[in-house]
């Protein structure tokens, strides 16, 4: 089952890159992230799954679609034929990598250090154990926002 989910994830991720029509690309990305969130749920990471589905598949897609709708020029974008030719190659390459990893995993026993299972709620883990990362996350968000402000400032050099 995981294999099919991974294939779906890879296929839609590649489509998101190759498609020229921004709207189709944004929707492909959303579908890919739905596959990813299902994988998260199946791997017992419900919080990651919820965030993936609500933020990436939901919020970000809405923002993308809204922006595309607001800025779209008239007329349809013609899809280049290149993606149609390249897609199968990419797809086969990725699938073979995934299958290879699965085979290698069966052949080589990767040793791991045994650790006690992590207990505590999502909030506790985030606030108590990864506090420093929250500061880092805030920093990344600020950097992103200020970069956008810098790029979209008025072009008048004194703006």
């Amino acid at each position: 089952m995981h294999l099919f989910l991974l294939i779906g994830l890879v296929a839609f991720s590649i489509l998101a890159i190759l498609l020229r029509d921004l709207l189709k690309a944004a929707i492909s990305l959303a579908v890919a992230s739905i596959f990813l969130s299902v994988i998260f749920f199946r791997l017992n990471a419900p919080y990651a799954g919820v965030f993936e589905i609500s933020v990436v598949a939901g919020l970000i897609t809405v923002l993308f679609v809204a922006t595309i709708a607001l800025t779209r020029s008239e007329g349809d974008v013609r899809e280049s034929k290149l993606p149609m030719i390249l897609f199968p190659f990419f797809f086969v390459a990725f699938i073979s990598i995934i299958i290879n990893i699965l085979i290698v995993r069966h052949l080589i026993q990767i040793p791991t250090v045994s650790i006690p299972p992590v207990s505590g709620s999502f909030g506790e883990i985030l606030w108590r154990q990864r506090t420093f990362d929250i500061i880092g996350q805030i920093g990344v968000i600020f950097a992103g926002v200020f970069s956008v402000l810098a790029l979209f400032r008025s072009r008048g050099r004194n703006g």
Partner: protein, 495 residues
């Protein structure tokens, strides 16, 4: 309060756009310079006293309750903090005049401070994921700063940089997640002890390869350098100085050295050491040879950065205490003279409006301060005694000879000769010869730009003369941390 190194830039950055609305120039200039001057003095005085008895692990408290923010200040991280503060201060001084015509100084300083805070956080972090996260802050801020001029070239360079840097981040993240899967922890000490207990060489080898790809892309070592010759010249000059002087070293070399030496336990003459040394040699030669043919002054400096990073990697990759010391000393010197040379190129561009060497000529007559400081920087980077670059290259070459790697030592000398060659070309074409008629009315760089380059130029001379003091007070503690290897991580980080 080691946390100030992260808190001061971040807090100031978060309010800087608002300050920029109140006062367009004065307050952003003043506050940024004051903040960085404070951090520089702090690193030189209080923080240095803290590490005098070895490293300190610092936990943060919030109204008496312990927070899980644990920072490590040791000889190596303090050494990096000192370089970051020093170069950043010179850059903000230079920005006072230089960024005048770009506008929106508030946002510029906000991004610059975030980049500095990100680098400081990376240096102080004790956890692989935190290292990754702070590396991303510095990187995201730098994408915005490279594109700050909003021209076609800037945007293209920034996009290319973003794409390759994202790939690098991907490699780093995959490696971190594999390590987490195997060891079950991200803490540097737990990872070091976990990997040592398991003794599973394939995993360490695979993760090392991914880290070399990731950090190598960030450090722009050949063959992962494609983004740098576009990104560094396109950015405004102070940002080029930050990127070449600091960012490639902190997010590439620092992270690589910390992980490979303190966590993976790199030993002289093992596979990892050999790979790093070969990458260093290739970067050194390829960067130097391509720099020879450049006409754009900033592009030449960018290729020169690739070449000089090769020296740093060669020294650190060698893994012997002397090699590490040489590598770190060259990292320190390169941060100073490459920042100086990029700022000089900014002064020239500010006065003449061009970066093309064939259009310059005789500028020394009109811009004596820029010409003099640039000559000092060029001679330093080429390794002319008694300037600082000479000593660091000498230490690296002695370390190579001591390790009986004569071929590497010979190539290091050869690359140094090529470096001298292209910097003489730069000096001759830009500053000497007959003054081009077009430039007969140009003026020397404005006051603060000149002050900044004079400080860096003087530092090149002072460090060259007083290098034993620098080695004793700053380099020795940093070298001790790295050469203690994995034992250091197990002892000190095992809080």
């Amino acid at each position: 309060m080691i946390f100030l190194f992260i808190a001061v830039p971040f807090i100031l950055a978060s309010i800087m756009p608002l300050i920029g609305k109140i006062s367009r120039r004065f307050l952003p200039d003043l506050l940024s310079n004051l903040a960085l001057f404070f951090l520089l003095i702090y690193a030189m005085t209080i923080a240095r006293q803290l590490v005098s008895g070895g490293g300190v692990v610092h936990q943060l408290y919030f109204f008496g309750a312990p927070l899980n923010i644990i920072l490590l200040l040791d000889g190596f991280s303090l050494f990096m903090l000192f370089i970051i503060s020093l170069v950043s201060f010179a850059v903000t001084l230079f920005s006072i005049d230089y960024m005048e015509h770009y506008g929106a100084k508030g946002i510029y300083y906000a991004l610059l401070l975030l980049m500095i805070g990100g680098m400081n956080g990376l240096v102080l972090a004790t956890d692989l994921f935190s290292i990754y996260l702070f590396l991303e802050i510095a990187a995201v801020a730098s994408y915005g700063l490279v594109a700050y001029g909003l021209g076609h070239d800037e945007l293209e360079a920034s996009f290319k940089y973003l794409m390759l840097s994202a790939v690098a981040s991907g490699f780093i993240l995959i490696s971190i997640s594999i390590i987490f899967g195997i060891v079950g922890s991200l803490n540097l000490s737990d990872v070091a002890s976990g990997l040592k207990t398991l003794n599973f060489k394939y995993a360490v080898g695979f993760c090392s390869a991914l880290f070399i790809l990731g950090f190598g892309l960030k450090a722009a070592i050949v063959p992962f350098h494609a983004w740098l010759p576009d990104a560094h010249p396109s950015a405004p000059a102070p940002i080029s100085a930050m990127l070449s002087g600091l960012l490639i070293k902190v997010s590439g070399i620092y992270a690589m050295a910390r992980v490979f030496l303190n966590v993976f336990g790199l030993q002289p003459h093992d596979y990892l050491s050999t790979v790093l040394m070969y990458l260093g040699i290739i970067s050194m030669l390829v960067g130097a040879i391509i720099a020879l043919g450049q006409n754009d002054i900033k592009r030449m400096l960018a290729y020169s950065s690739i070449s000089q990073i090769g020296y740093v990697l060669l020294g650190i990759g060698l893994g012997t205490p002397l090699g590490i010391m040489g590598g770190l000393f060259h990292l320190f010197n390169h941060a100073i003279f490459k920042a100086l040379l990029f700022l000089n190129s900014g002064s020239i561009e500010n006065s003449t409006g061009t970066r093309a060497l064939d259009k310059m000529g005789g500028l020394a007559k009109r811009m004596p301060i820029t010409a003099a400081t640039s000559a000092i920087g060029s001679l330093s980077i080429a390794g002319i005694p008694p300037l600082n670059g000479f000593w660091s290259k000498l230490i690296i070459i002695i370390a190579l000879v001591e390790a009986k790697m004569f071929a590497f030592a010979f190539i290091a000398v050869l690359a140094s000769v090529i470096t001298l060659w292209y910097y003489l070309i730069l000096q001759r074409r830009a500053f000497f010869g007959k003054l081009n008629e077009t430039w007969k009315n140009i003026k020397e760089a404005p006051f603060w730009m000149s002050v900044s380059t004079i400080i860096l130029g003087l530092l090149c001379i002072i460090i060259g003369i007083a290098f034993p003091i620098i080695i004793k007070s700053w380099l020795k503690p940093a070298t001790d941390v790295l050469s203690a290897g994995i034992i250091y991580a197990l002892n000190l980080l095992g809080f």
